[in-house]
């Protein structure tokens, strides 16, 4: 066990991926000498060379598009999109090409490609630096989407994503880059898409991913003082979603609360709520509920704390959920 930040854990995970396979490349803006704006690739160009850790011209569509071409050649490129709000210029290459080429080629092309996406807010940034675009990609068949929430998961999930033969959108909660945690350098925790119960509980199933896992755990601590026992599930896989783990929990608790920074409409939370009411209708004792950002453009960051679900807002929604109880 080693204590490190999530940014360092990603760095170490990428280092191992680069060591294990000469076909692994890193590609992104400012990832070389600078080490990326979040320093996730710090020192990797120095150790692996400019041919493998490639500073990209500033063109996101080209970053993804050339990675698709490299995948056709058998390379596995880990792309860094500098911020969530800059991924949209690459949207066409992601959804029309990376997502569809395995199908279009009847399996001949393998799209070994990881798109690292620092996402969600909470860092007081200017516009386009705090968004949660994951639902766009979850909606697109052919892509896989994951979100890490701890340094240990970051270390292992990035390696698992690189080894995966499908294109993976790898969501990194940027407000957690500097949180420290124990990393087990020997044994992976679980599969790339498996949900993990972070805190067992009896009364309510709380599902979160990325930045909101920490909020969920803090809310559970606070709720415990009021005698409410929350089970917190870190979803990890957004496509596919480990709905078996969520459903098993809801079967026991009878209540579901999903927490996400994204706007609620047609979101990851929407899918969880819809799927769980289909699966667990007769176990639910209250309406499955989302606590989300709002259906507005991500706000100016001076008021982002009111946009992002806070511990207090989670507890407030929890109160409403418990009032519904039957």
């Amino acid at each position: 066990m080693t204590m490190m930040t999530m940014a360092k854990a990603l760095n170490e995970g990428l280092r191992r991926a680069l060591e294990s396979d000469r076909h692994v490349l890193l590609l992104g803006e400012d990832i070389g000498k600078l080490g990326g704006v979040f320093r996730v690739t710090d020192g990797l160009q120095k150790d692996f060379g400019e041919d493998r850790v490639i500073d990209a011209p500033l063109a996101e569509s080209a970053i993804v598009g050339t990675s698709v071409g490299l995948a056709m050649r058998g390379y596995r490129t880990v792309v860094e999109i500098q911020f969530d709000g800059f991924v949209y210029p690459a949207f066409d290459q992601i959804v029309s090409q990376a997502a569809k080429l395995h199908k279009r080629s009847a399996g001949a092309y393998t799209m070994g490609l990881v798109i690292r996406l620092p996402f969600q807010g909470g860092i007081g940034a200017v516009e386009h630096h705090s968004e949660s675009p994951e639902a766009y990609f979850v909606h697109t068949a052919g892509l896989r989407v994951v979100a890490c929430s701890t340094p240990n998961d970051a270390y292992w999930m990035i390696q698992q994503a690189v080894a995966h033969d499908d294109p993976v959108i790898f969501c990194e909660p940027k407000c957690r880059y500097w949180d420290k945690g124990e990393v087990d350098l020997e044994n992976p925790p679980t599969g790339l898409f498996d949900a993990v119960v972070r805190r067992p509980g009896r009364d309510v199933t709380v599902v979160a991913y990325g930045s909101m896992v920490k909020v969920a755990l803090q809310a559970a601590e606070a709720a415990a003082e009021e005698g409410r026992d929350l089970e917190v599930i870190d979803l990890r896989g957004l496509s596919p979603m480990d709905l078996d783990t969520v459903a098993a929990s809801v079967e026991r608790t009878g209540r579901l609360l999903v927490i996400q920074e994204a706007p609620p409409i047609a979101s990851v939370g929407s899918e969880i709520v819809a799927a769980i009411q289909e699966r667990c209708f007769y176990s639910l004792r209250a309406p499955a509920t989302r606590v989300s950002g709002f259906y507005v453009p991500y706000p100016a960051s001076k008021i982002e704390d009111e946009f992002r679900p806070s511990v207090d807002r989670v507890l407030w929604s929890l109160d409403q959920l418990m009032e519904h109880d039957s």
Partner: protein, 354 residues
């Protein structure tokens, strides 16, 4: 036509023409081979258009007028090279050995691809304009990292030249000196929009601004297309970077079988280009300078007819795939949501549909 810098080695009348930088060293048999290629792809294309008119294909994108651009460039490729088409490059597909029936599959709407791109070292039709230019540059960057003696060729059109992806691919190819040859078939029309709407300068001039050579070739001259693309491929393999080749040509037919060009262009313009036909000029050269007899031309026409008939038979035999094919190959590894869909549709089909 095409300006003073147009590289032409064979006039529309079938006369050889000298050029300071390029010289055709092709033998009689090689030129005859190109002629055969062009006759065959034109005949296949006519058959496919007929099949669409008869309701047997959902769509077809005719290549008439662009045979020389495609055969010249396609035949310049080495077996080790890799090429990326747009969606009209049936001629290039032919040179890579893709069976005509496989070219028709996407237009029969039984698949979204059609062949194994690794087998022919020829990628799949790309319908979103210009996307493939970035794939080509990425693939070329892979060649560089492998230290391989290979090059990439990518096809796109005058319409796609306005796409951001194409311009980004120019930036990247230049920055990384990628071994890629851009073949821009300027067929003068992007559906109904003339090239003048896409650009205020000759398209090959754009390469200057990105820092690599650009040339304009008579795209209806198979000898020039072959020599210029071959030279650019050699240059790419030698590590000297990308080249933009503008094949100045004309789309004689409709954009696709869904298009009606009479709404936006006049017949007189088409007639001008009919006199620049890429196939007839080679036939004239072969007959006059190489003494190819009319019986040989007749044999080639018969061969093309036979291939067209085979294409027709193959297309008519192509039934719709099982509906559950939609669930295959979506992912390299099983995905539960795809499998859930497979189960649902299978159950529905088993219980409700015959």
């Amino acid at each position: 036509m095409g300006g003073e810098e147009l590289i032409q080695l064979l006039t529309p009348e079938g006369e050889r023409r000298q050029h300071d930088d390029y010289e055709s060293t092709l033998t009689r048999d090689e030129i005859l081979g190109f002629y055969r290629d062009m006759v065959i792809v034109r005949r296949l294309c006519n058959e496919a258009t007929s099949l669409q008119r008869q309701g047997q294909l959902a769509l077809w994108a005719p290549l008439q007028g662009q045979e020389a651009a495609q055969i010249g460039a396609g035949r310049a490729l080495g077996p080790q090279d890799f090429a990326f088409p747009s969606y009209r490059e049936h001629g290039v597909a032919w040179t890579r050995g893709v069976p005509p029936a496989d070219m028709a599959r996407i237009f029969r709407a039984t698949v979204t691809g059609g062949w194994d791109p690794r087998q022919y070292r020829y990628s799949l039709p790309t319908v979103v304009l210009g996307d493939q230019t970035l794939h080509a540059v990425g693939y070329a960057m892979g060649i560089q990292r492998d230290g391989a003696d290979e090059a990439v060729m990518v096809f796109f059109g005058d319409g796609a030249s306005s796409q951001g992806d194409v311009l980004e691919s120019f930036v990247w190819a230049a920055s990384f000196q990628a071994p890629v040859v851009f073949v821009l078939q300027n067929n003068q029309w992007a559906i109904s929009e003339p090239t003048s709407l896409q650009t205020r300068i000759p398209l090959y001039h754009r390469a200057d601004g990105f820092g690599f050579p650009g040339v304009r070739v008579d795209g209806n001259d198979v000898l020039a297309m072959y020599e210029v693309t071959r030279r650019a491929l050699d240059r790419a393999r030698a590590g000297e970077g990308p080249t933009l080749i503008e094949a100045f040509t004309y789309r004689m037919g409709a954009h696709t079988t869904s298009d009606d060009p009479t709404r936006y262009r006049v017949e007189a313009d088409v007639e001008v280009w009919r006199h620049r036909d890429p196939v007839e000029r080679v036939k004239a050269l072969l007959a006059r300078s190489h003494r190819v007899r009319s019986s040989r031309f007749a044999e080639i026409a018969e061969e093309a007819d036979a291939l067209a008939l085979a294409l027709r038979e193959d297309v008519l035999a192509m039934g719709p795939p099982p509906a559950t094919d939609m669930f295959d190959d979506v992912y390299a590894e099983p995905h539960p949501w795809v499998e859930e869909g497979r189960r649902t549709l299978s159950a529905f089909l088993a219980e409700v549909a015959p």
